[in-house]
């Protein structure tokens, strides 16, 4: 059943009313640039579902009402849709213009929308096609490399992975730099919970003038998600499906058993150190020439799939859309997965000429078991000399394995005389370790809009988001945590969020002559409560995950916690948009915010902003030059605030702490934290200059933005000298600036009948700098803040190579020996020290990128399409967690290492330090440039020709093949230069091979 009977009935009834009397119109559709025939264009009567398709010659015949004017809408993929008014003509010639991000596109700007040509601020937009192009599990992933100035960074390779987003650098230093997310009016939504296929567009507000409407909450930028809506016409059904296989790839090179032996015995002895010992089991493997690849043994290819069915349509006054989706991304470590079930529905209805109501709802359920935290790290750490299966042990009694015996056939301690790392395959087995998060997120928005007078409307909307988050953590006996001897332990915790926003909005639109005025006034109240609960027990008698904690008995309850937090925000806002002659545009915004979590005297703040735009391209003196097809100049200035501290930060709370006087309970409450009664708003001001341009009939188009943002009264969880008895306090500590440039360039390189090629390139550079710190100090070393440097810097000794044998005497004066990491004695006093007055540490660099480039190419050849995306990030410095963890630590003899060219007395390299030699400054060698170029994905698609589709009664059908993450280029040692993985709580990198299908009817 493709069509709902009811809908059909309704449509028939509706159509029969319209087509009382008809006449025939014939016409032809051509490309306005090349004059080529445009086949398969759809021609519909506006406000009506009735339509026809142009044939292979671009010709069509359509019947329209015989009386009155009719508007025909002509649409074709790759072209801007065009409306033609039919008066008395009977034949039409329609020339379609290629689609070039048409200037009439609407951009959502918060509590309203404007046409792109009327935009005064810096806003980046991503369309539905871009969002689903790469089949992301998480919408955030789709934003990477698409909008200049928006840096999206992966946090992990686990299924259902989290991404972080920074818009225009780090505007704050207290850690939270995530932008505000607004999903269909639900403020503070969660991107990861949304099915990407349900999204119509993403609009990203970047400059302060644009975000000012969100006041305090928009300080880090705003991401507005607009879900797909129905449109009046017949019910349309779409089916989007993909199925892919994730194959582990790009893995770091780990030592083999023989390499491990060489580095820990032979070369250590060569370097005059003390070699390590091996068990008989290990020696047997080493001598046989064998080796165990734990990562390979642990991981396997897995499934990545997504399926969304949607129905949308509408009748006079009412439109609707419903969808259901299922996404599954399995991890490469067995028994880890991310499953997302989503239901989305929305109705908008115009009840009569003064009342409009609408409702939209999302229900998302995510199930995310990620298994053992230790699984991957154990696989990286376990010695390659270890034995997987118990039966392969030469002598289980020589080590700790014999006491346990085979577990599921595995040797738990791998035949190694060490009991720190368990066999990764044992660790990862769900019988031993389970960790799972399930989230139910119910979001809804309802509004009513009434027209009070002509041009004056009042809109009231209520948004609610209820998130129920449940987390279970079970660690059985055969896990690192339980050391293979203790009974299992488990923790179960829940967090419930209830978030409400109540908005009341007055809008007034007025136009007279060349003037257009639009005024918005808003009152908003926001309330967020979080309740959480957790219980932890140990010594469970049998494996029951977290489903029977009572069996541990009351004496084995190790923690019970519950908590409550509330914060509220109250706001008043006004905005005026004034346009003169469609060329001169002005936006003024003001917003006052009151935040509960700030101190009583500092709760309220006011944030003004303004923007001007000049469509200079529409002025005759520019038009005459015939250079520009579009040119707009913009300038904006605005202030926004940030009150991003936890509730109760201004209060000195008490902390429960227990003692026993002999056997008598002593229940103590100590001062828990230092309240800051002076805590106030962090405030940013930003100047943005922008140019939108188009040349050659917009074959080349784009935008350049230049901005300068200063944030003062930065809120920081400031480190305190601990002689105060406290470690941190929330404080306003200084001023930071972000200056940057963003360039977006879209080109239509080739636009022929059979072949087209477009490129979209974006470039963003941001310079982050601490301008000033509180009390006039030049640095807060404990927080790594230095005036004149960016935030997120590393402050440490600078690497100067490896001490070589020829420098032995000099090395000795520094208390070091050949093979040790040499660092720069900055002040040349002959001592390496971090003491006051003779500190040799310096700012080494920042984790913030220097610049990023994203590039997407799309080609169409007849029915085939090809697209690929590349992403380049320059200048990120990481203290490489894989190196500073045990995997790069050649002073650690217990665990395996990644293959590095280390120093020996016969190999005087500067690549890596020597084995068997004391390394007091080894951290200096672990800082690495994590610049990388990634080919993010390559997609080849085929769209079934219209002729065939008609036969099958389909509107649209496309099949495609996609390759995700096929290659990256970097000098960084690790799993993935994009994020600094320690392999703890992580999965391996991968390539995904995907087959996909899109059908519409």
């Amino acid at each position: 059943m493709r069509k709902a009977i009811l809908l059909t009935t309704l449509l028939c009834w509706f159509s029969s009313m319209v087509w009382a009397q008809n006449r025939q119109i014939t016409g032809r559709v051509l490309n306005n640039e090349t004059g080529a025939i445009v086949a398969g264009a759809s021609i519909t009567v506006k406000g009506n579902s009735k339509g026809v398709i142009a044939d292979a010659d671009g010709k069509f015949t359509i019947s329209v009402a015989s009386k009155g004017n009719t508007v025909l809408v002509i649409q074709s993929v790759g072209f801007a849709s065009q409306e033609v008014i039919v008066n008395s003509q009977t034949s039409l010639l329609v020339k379609l213009a290629s689609e070039t991000k048409a200037l009439d596109d609407v951009v959502v700007v918060g509590y309203g929308s404007v046409k792109k040509k009327d935009l005064t601020g810096a806003v980046g937009s991503i369309s539905s096609a871009e969002i689903v192009r790469s089949n992301p599990t998480n919408v955030t992933q789709a934003i990477q490399g698409q909008v200049p100035g928006v840096v999206v960074t992966k946090g992990s390779n686990l299924p259902g992975q989290a991404f972080s987003i920074d818009i225009r650098g780090e505007n704050t230093i207290s850690g939270v730099t995530e932008p505000l997310v607004v999903i269909d009016g639900v403020i503070g939504g969660r991107l990861r919970d949304i099915n990407p296929a349900d999204i119509a567009s993403i609009d990203i507000l970047k400059d302060a003038s644009s975000t000012a409407i969100y006041g305090s909450r928009g300080a880090n930028g705003v991401i507005i998600i607009t879900s797909k809506k129905g449109s009046i016409g017949k019910a349309k059904v779409t089916l989007d499906s993909y199925l892919g296989q994730k194959i582990p790839a790009h893995l770091p090179d780990l030592q083999t058993a023989q390499q491990f032996y060489q580095s820990m015995v032979t070369d250590v002895a060569l370097n005059l150190g003390t070699p390590i010992t091996f068990s008989v089991n290990e020696l047997a493997l080493i001598n046989s020439g064998g080796s165990t690849n734990w990562v390979k043994s642990l991981t396997k290819p897995s499934i990545n799939t997504g399926n969304t069915v949607a129905v949308s349509g509408g009748t006079a006054g009412t439109t609707y859309r419903f969808s259901g989706g299922y996404i599954q991304e399995d991890g490469n470590i067995p028994n880890t997965t991310y499953k997302k079930y989503s239901l989305n529905g929305g109705i908008d209805s115009k009840i009569n000429n003064f009342l409009k109501i609408g409702f939209s709802a999302y229900v998302n359920f995510n199930n995310n078991p990620t298994g053992s935290y230790e699984a991957l790290r154990s696989a990286y750490r376990a010695r390659p000399t270890g034995i997987i299966y118990y039966k392969d042990l030469v002598d289980p009694a020589a080590v700790y394995d014999a006491a346990i015996g085979p577990w599921n056939g595995y040797a738990v301690w791998m035949g190694i005389k060490d009991n720190q790392v368990l066999n990764p395959l044992v660790e990862a087995d769900p019988a031993n370790y389970q960790f799972s998060v399930t989230t139910t997120n119910e979001m809804g928005n309802a509004y009513a809009e009434i027209t009070l007078l002509k041009g004056l409307t009042f809109k009231s909307s209520i948004s609610a988001s209820v998130i129920d988050n449940r987390q279970g953590d079970y660690r059985g006996t055969y896990t690192k945590d339980r050391a293979a001897v203790n009974l299992p332990k488990a923790t179960y915790s829940t967090s419930d969020y209830a978030i409400y926003t109540f908005d009341n909005q007055l809008n007034y639109n007025y136009a007279k002559g060349k003037s257009k005025l639009s005024v918005t006034a808003l009152q908003s109240a926001y309330k967020n409560t979080v309740e959480s609960y957790s219980i932890a027990v140990q010594n469970l008698p049998y494996a029951s995950a977290w489903y029977n904690l009572g069996t541990a008995g009351l004496s084995n309850v190790t923690a019970v916690n519950s908590s409550y937090a509330l914060n509220t925000l109250q706001s008043y806002m006004g905005r005026i948009n004034y346009t003169f002659n469609d060329k001169y545009l002005l936006t003024l915004t003001g917003r006052g915010d009151g935040a509960s979590q700030l101190s009583n005297n500092n709760k309220w703040a006011f944030f003004p902003s303004g923007a001007l735009a000049w469509r200079i391209g529409d002025e005759n003196f520019i038009k005459k030059t015939n250079i520009f097809s579009d040119l707009k100049l913009r300038v904006s200035y605005g202030q926004v605030g940030n009150a991003n501290v936890s509730p109760y930060s201004t209060q000195a709370s008490i902390l429960n702490t227990i003692y026993g006087y002999d056997q008598a309970l002593g229940n103590g409450f100590a001062p828990g934290n230092l309240g800051n009664q002076d805590l106030k708003w962090e405030r940013s001001e930003e100047l943005n200059l922008g140019v939108n341009f188009g040349f050659l009939n917009n074959r080349i188009s784009g935008a350049v933005e230049v901005y300068n943002r200063t944030t003062k009264d930065l809120i920081l969880k400031e480190n305190l000298p601990t002689s105060t008895g406290f470690t941190t306090v929330n404080a306003n500590v200084g001023r930071i600036s972000n200056k940057g440039v963003e360039i977006l360039l879209n080109t239509r390189n080739v636009a022929n009948k059979n072949f087209s090629w477009t490129t979209s390139v974006n470039f963003a550079k941001n310079i982050n700098k601490i301008e000033e710190l509180a009390n006039g100090v030049s640095s807060i070393i404990g927080n790594s803040l230095f005036v004149g440097s960016p935030v997120k810097v590393y402050y440490d000794y600078k690497y100067a190579g490896i001490w070589q044998i020829a420098d032995s005497a000099l090395a000795k004066t520094f208390g070091q020996a050949p093979g040790s990491v040499r660092v720069v004695d900055q002040n040349g006093d002959g001592v390496i020290s971090s003491a006051t007055g003779k500190d040799d540490r310096v700012v080494l660099g920042t984790q913030l990128p220097n610049y990023t480039i994203g590039m997407t190419n799309r080609m169409n050849f007849k029915q085939f399409d090809l697209s690929f995306m590349m992403y380049y990030r320059n200048g990120t410095l990481y203290n490489n967690n894989l190196l500073n963890g045990t995997m790069g630590d050649y002073t650690n003899t217990r665990y395996n290492h990644i293959v590095l060219n280390y120093w020996t007395r016969n190999n005087p390299t500067n690549d890596w330090y020597g084995v068997g030699v004391s390394q007091p400054y080894k951290s200096a060698i672990q800082y690495e440039d994590a610049s990388f170029l990634r080919i993010s994905d390559i997609t080849v698609g085929y769209t079934v020709p219209k002729v065939k589709l008609d036969k099958w009664n389909l509107d649209r059908m496309r099949v495609y093949l996609q390759l995700t993450n096929p290659q990256f280029f970097t000098k960084y040692h690790g799993q993935d230069p994009e994020y600094n993985s320690s392999s703890y709580i992580d999965d391996v990198p991968y390539i995904i091979y995907t087959f996909g299908l899109n059908i519409g009817f």
Binding site: F278, F354, V485, Q570, I780
Partner: protein, 639 residues
């Protein structure tokens, strides 16, 4: 539009405006926090204030468990084994605390952790001191006692801190507003403050508290005696000490002894958890094993560890169950043979420090009951098992041994009774006959088995005697911690402090000369059978291969008693207790001499010459204190 329509619109508008009004409630921005209270609203009555004073005690556990700064690099403990040093291998990689090399610097996490705990505790005590006057509903006499408890605990922390770091910040009021400015107070002023506070505590604290574990007059006197003793030595002439301090210390020691509240146990072993040499024959439970020890009257002040683990939590350090970790901090676990995996039969040895070889040689293993009380020299199989010696190096022997539970698996001979014939040895040695490892002192920690450049496998070898003084049977292996109360002060040490004060010129001793005090402790250790006899130690404890005939008595006489002799005795009597050893060496100015003499790592340094130097009498101020203070405070000299 007709009037009716407009009216309808207006009414909807009015209704909405009412809703808007509701959202603007005046209290909307008030912070509501049902889950917590603030310091100002909670500490103002008796219940709240009592909870504040109680909160000053739990951190003692965390502070006491920062042990490395008082054990590492001393004469009796080192952090790593000493095989490589014994064989004179180059490029030795041991601990910075022992080698005293450049790694012993301000960045060490142990320094920061101890510092942070001490000052967190000081701030809690300060809160208890300054908030007392404002508390309602509590008698003045009780308040006085509680304030004195807080001052006692604060003095304890300042005393630890001033010994470690010298000039230190000395806040005496609760921190209620943040400041990055830090002022260092000279060490001598810190001592003045400590003595002032403790003198007050001696006057105001009761001799006994209803709740065991709280500060008492005796505890305050003990601490004050130690503070006077320390100031008397007057480190670097910087503490404002005078010879009169030794007399003050001695007077307090005599008072404690005369009070009769803290009599010495007749049997030294009653001070420790009951435990059987052979775990297969263990009869004590976790609770019963510590019943006697925890109730001992000899203990003047101990950190409390209740039996119910839920009483042991301190969420401020991110843990919910902390027991006493003392049992696992000293090297020398059971032999791996037929022990298998991780066993609670012998307590988990969690690393930390290991006894130097000289320490064993300070004891008379036969006559002195403290040798067997401190070290367990026999190891038994706890499960059945087999061991194959097929590929042993450097002594390959193709033998497979089978064990039943309870079979002996290792014996560590005392230094003065080594195995001398091959037949007395284990089968892993050529000619050996015993099916267990038999090792002599100069083979402890694998000294006899090291072979440069070869992977070594000796499944039978056992490292050294177990340091089992604090072992508590029946506790869980992993996160199961002991419920043995950590004794910080006990009266045996009072006698040794008195002896030291007399040697340094203290006058007016009640019991007699220094040797009288000293021999009280020694005779108790020798037991009724041997009291009065002369126990013999190695003349040169630092020479592990010295002939066993080279011995000397350690009974004190008025003529022979010295500070070194007292330090030797405190090593035997108090080994591993109270986190005290480093402070003892620092107080007496013997760190450089004794550590370099007895600790092979200190002697070795990085390349064969000791690196320990005068600057090491003070620790570096933790880097975080330098980095987080503004203006940055200065570092101690030499770092």
């Amino acid at each position: 539009m007709n009037i009716f329509k407009n009216f309808r619109k207006a009414s909807i508008g009015i209704a909405l405006i009412c809703i808007v009004g509701a959202g603007c409630s005046k209290n909307f921005l008030n912070e509501i926090n049902p889950s917590n209270r603030t310091t100002d609203t909670y500490y103002n009555d008796a219940t709240g204030y009592e909870s504040l004073v109680t909160s000053c005690y739990p951190l003692l556990r965390d502070i006491a468990q920062q042990r490395i700064l008082s054990y590492g690099g001393t004469d009796v403990f080192a952090q790593a084994g000493w095989g490589g040093i014994y064989f004179n291998q180059p490029n030795q990689l041991g601990s910075q605390y022992d080698q005293y090399d450049i790694r012993l610097n301000a960045s060490l996490g142990d320094l920061q952790t101890l510092w942070d705990f001490l000052y967190r505790e000081i701030n809690r005590c300060n809160a208890a001191v300054v908030r007392a006057p404002g508390v309602i509903g509590m008698t003045d006499s009780l308040k006085t006692v509680r304030v004195a408890e807080a001052k006692f605990l604060r003095s304890l922390c300042y005393f630890w801190a001033v010994q470690q770091w010298g000039d230190i910040p000395m806040p005496l009021v609760e921190t209620t507003t943040a400041s990055l400015e830090v002022v260092k107070t000279p060490a001598k002023d810190v001592y003045t403050q400590i003595i002032k506070d403790l003198t007050e505590c001696v006057a105001k604290l009761p001799a006994k508290q209803i709740q065991v574990g709280r500060g008492t007059q005796g505890a305050a006197k003990f601490l004050l005696a130690r503070v006077y003793l320390t100031r008397g030595w007057n480190f670097n002439n910087s503490l404002g000490g005078t010879p009169a301090d030794f007399t003050s210390s001695l007077q307090l020691c005599d008072q404690i002894i005369a009070s009769g509240l803290y009599p010495l146990e007749a049997n030294w072993n009653n001070l420790w958890p009951l435990h059987n040499t052979n775990p297969n024959k263990e009869t004590a439970t976790a609770a019963s094993s510590v019943a006697v020890a925890n109730a001992s009257k000899e203990i003047i002040f101990a950190v409390q560890y209740a039996n119910a683990s839920s009483y042991n939590g301190d969420p401020s350090v991110g843990t919910t169950t902390i027991g006493n970790d003392l049992h696992g901090r000293f090297g020398g676990g059971p032999s791996g043979v037929a022990q298998q995996a991780r066993t609670s039969a012998y307590n988990r040895v969690n690393g930390g420090v290991t006894t130097t070889w000289a320490t064993y040689r300070l004891f008379d293993p036969v006559m002195d009951t403290r040798y067997a009380g401190t070290f367990n020299s026999v190891c038994y199989a706890t499960t059945a098992g087999t061991v194959s010696l097929a590929t042993n190096k450097p002594y390959p022997q193709a033998v497979t041994l089978t064990y039943a539970a309870g079979d002996t698996t290792g014996i560590a001979n005392p230094w003065n009774a080594p195995a001398t014939t091959a037949a007395q040895r284990g089968v892993d040695i050529p000619g050996g006959t015993k099916k267990y490892s038999v090792i002599n002192t100069n083979e402890y920690q694998g000294l006899g088995y090291i072979s440069v450049g070869n992977a070594i496998v000796d499944n039978l070898a056992w490292g050294q005697p177990m340091f089992w003084k604090f072992f508590q049977p029946g506790i869980l292996y992993g996160d199961g911690y002991s419920t043995f109360n950590d004794p910080l002060f006990r009266s045996a040490e009072v006698y040794l402090m008195a002896a030291e004060a007399i040697v340094k010129g203290g006058t007016g001793a009640v019991l007699g000369t220094a040797d009288v005090y000293y021999n009280k402790i020694l005779d108790r250790a020798l037991g009724t059978a041997n009291a009065g006899k002369s126990p013999m130690r190695a003349t040169n404890p630092e020479l592990v291969d010295d002939p066993i005939s080279n011995i000397v008595s350690y009974r004190a006489t008025p003529a022979n008693i010295t500070i070194d002799m007292i330090l030797d005795e405190s090593a035997r009597e108090l080994l591993g207790e109270g986190n005290q050893r480093w402070y003892d060496l620092k107080r007496t100015g013997t760190l450089l001499t004794r550590a370099a003499k007895y600790n092979p790592w200190v002697a070795y340094g990085l390349t064969g010459t000791p690196l320990v130097a005068a600057k090491h009498y003070l620790r570096p101020i933790p880097q975080g204190m330098l980095d987080n203070s503004n203006p940055r405070i200065s570092q101690n000299p030499g770092y």
